[in-house]
Amino acid sequence: MSAIQKAPQRPVSTYLHKRPNVRLIALLALPMTWLIGVYIISLALLLVTALWFIDPFTSKVIPGFTLDNFINIFTVPAYFSTAVRTLAIALAVTLVCILFAIPLGIFMAKIARPWVRNLLAVAITLPLWAGYLVKLLAMRLTFTEQGLFNWLMEPFGITGPGFGVPVTVLTLAYLWFPYMALPVFTAIRQLPHNLFDASADLGAKGWPTVFRMVLPLITPAIIAGSVFTFSLSLGDYLAAKFVGGSTQMIGSIIASNINLNPPVAAAFSMVPIAFVVMYLVIARRTGSLERM
């Protein structure tokens, strides 16, 4: 019969072991400080600032309460059309990304040999390693008047679109494409190969297979990707500045008002947020978020 010995004492571990709440606080201390302290509070400040106004003579910001800044978004034609244009550009960018990502994803996931697939995966993510301005400059050089596009297309009598909304859409699609292509590729890769065989076996050709089988099954991935392509496009203004010609986006208005009229800039900052919230509500309505 051996006596039971007392286990070596571990006061800190024992204390934490008995108190799950303390452990939870320790775990979440840093992320919560960041989330509440930086993220939520700054957003709240933004909303509050949007309710202030500036003194027309001194241009000083006066704390107060006015909805004029929000009303202006709808009533000033230049503001309203810019909001609508930005929304249209963001939707177009998302659509372009989807159109490119699906066939590419099908090729990578189901047809390409492993080394081609890996090469393409690197090629898709490679632009993420290059700086933002580098990519803008590349697009600018491609579409400028004496640029690559015009030079290539000259023999066919085609001249490029010039800097404007279409090139802005293309540029933004180029910038954010990885965020769409990767989830779409991953989702298609997870589809059993047999489903493609079954679809063909049952008589469905390429298009019906994509529309009735692939598209519904990868909708969650498309939504995930589009949250990036859509919201990043909504907030962008440098693309419009460098390749958009005279194109104005919401970001352009915010940037030009940041010093001149902070309340207007703050009110405009709410517009992309509102669009994204609306987008997510619609996505939720379609039931696609539940399958995410």
């Binding site: 065989d197 079954a198 063909a200 076996d201």
Partner: protein, 339 residues
């Protein structure tokens, strides 16, 4: 449906070699073989998922070798069912009808009938993940049969089911095949399943067909050692043992259930071969008892005996007992293709 000089290679690997096959309309035809023997590849070539390196696939008189899967009057039931997870059972069954642009009302009617024929009408609005394996299997069958194909291909469709369900589905499949009158080409590695269901069996080995015939034919008169040992248990006897027993060094086969065990002092009846052997192992398997025997000359035999009596009430045979293992001459099958 026939295959003519079919060849398929993946790079340097030959999957199917010079294969010829004729399957009459309405036959239940099984392709049996171990994994990697080329049976699934042949099925996929018939379906159109793989292209043949050489040769022809002929379906009711027309050459479909070059046609895409969606242009062939052939449908497939996949091993893991391949039901579309985002669609209900009804929508799954309607998928092929929709691809054929059949009007909505007729489509719904045909699909409902097909679901009814597999007795799952009450589950039509469920989605596939809410169904059990056996139910999914039936839906996969309904989805293929609703298109009334000339040939239905089944790729190890019962492989994922447990034994009891598998036996139920075997009966069910056979019934559906009889009622629909469609040619079934059934791929399996389970010899019992193939024997139970098929009109004819093709035994595959290394990309070639070793033998084609009715279940009785391939079991009783195997054309090669491979066929003999792949279908059921076999006692292949060749060389010196064959010479002393049968007077020839060719290869012979005797099935374990045809070997009679009796006292070592008993006499051989006329028309019987026999050998004195020692029992080295006894295994009770329920319906049968299996005995492993070894003769003095080193010949190993497996014999099985039906357990007609309760254990112990029968003649008792145990490890170490010496017995006379005898079998009738007409039960010995000569293996013709033995080199």
């Amino acid at each position: 449906m026939s295959l003519k000089n079919l060849n398929k290679s993946f790079g340097d690997v030959i999957a199917v070699e010079n294969l010829n096959l004729d399957i009459p309309h309405g036959e239940f035809f099984s392709m049996l073989g171990p994994s990697g023997s080329g049976k699934t590849t042949v099925l996929r070539i018939i379906a159109g998922f793989e292209t043949a390196t050489d040769g022809q696939v002929i379906l009711e008189g027309s050459d479909v070798t070059e046609l895409a899967p969606f242009d062939r009057d052939v449908n497939t039931v996949f091993q893991d069912y391949a039901l579309f997870p985002h669609m209900t059972i009804q929508q799954n069954v309607e998928y092929g009808l929709r691809a054929r642009k059949i009007p909505k009302i007729e489509r719904a009617k045909l699909a409902s009938e097909a679901i009814e024929s597999v007795k799952l009408t009450h589950l039509a609005d469920r989605s596939p993940h809410q169904l059990s394996g056996g139910q999914r299997q039936r839906i996969a069958l309904a989805r293929a049969l609703v298109l009334r194909p000339k040939v239905l291909l089944l790729d190890e469709p019962l492989g994922a089911l447990d034994k009891q369900l598998r036996e139920e589905m075997q009966v069910e499949l056979k019934r559906i095949q009889r009622e629909a009158g469609i040619t079934f080409i059934f791929v399996t590695h389970d010899q019992e399943e193939a024997m139970r269901m098929s009109d004819r069996i093709a035994v595959f080995n290394a990309g070639k067909i070793e033998q084609i015939g009715a279940p009785r034919e391939v079991y009783e008169s195997p054309s090669s050692a491979f066929v003999a040992s792949f279908l059921g248990v076999s006692n292949l006897i060749s060389g010196a043992s064959a010479k002393s027993l049968f007077g020839s060094e060719e290869m012979f086969n005797i099935r374990p259930e045809r070997i009679k065990l009796s006292d070592e002092k008993s006499q051989l009846a006329s028309g019987e071969h026999g050998v004195i052997a020692t029992i080295t192992d006894v295994a009770y398997t329920g319906a049968n008892t299996l005995y492993v025997l070894e003769s003095e000359s080193g010949l190993r035999l497996i014999a099985t005996r039906l357990n007609e009596e309760l254990p112990g009430q029968d003649i008792r045979l145990e490890s170490g007992d010496r017995v006379l293992a005898s079998f009738r001459k007409e039960h010995v099958a000569k293996i013709p293709n033995h080199k």
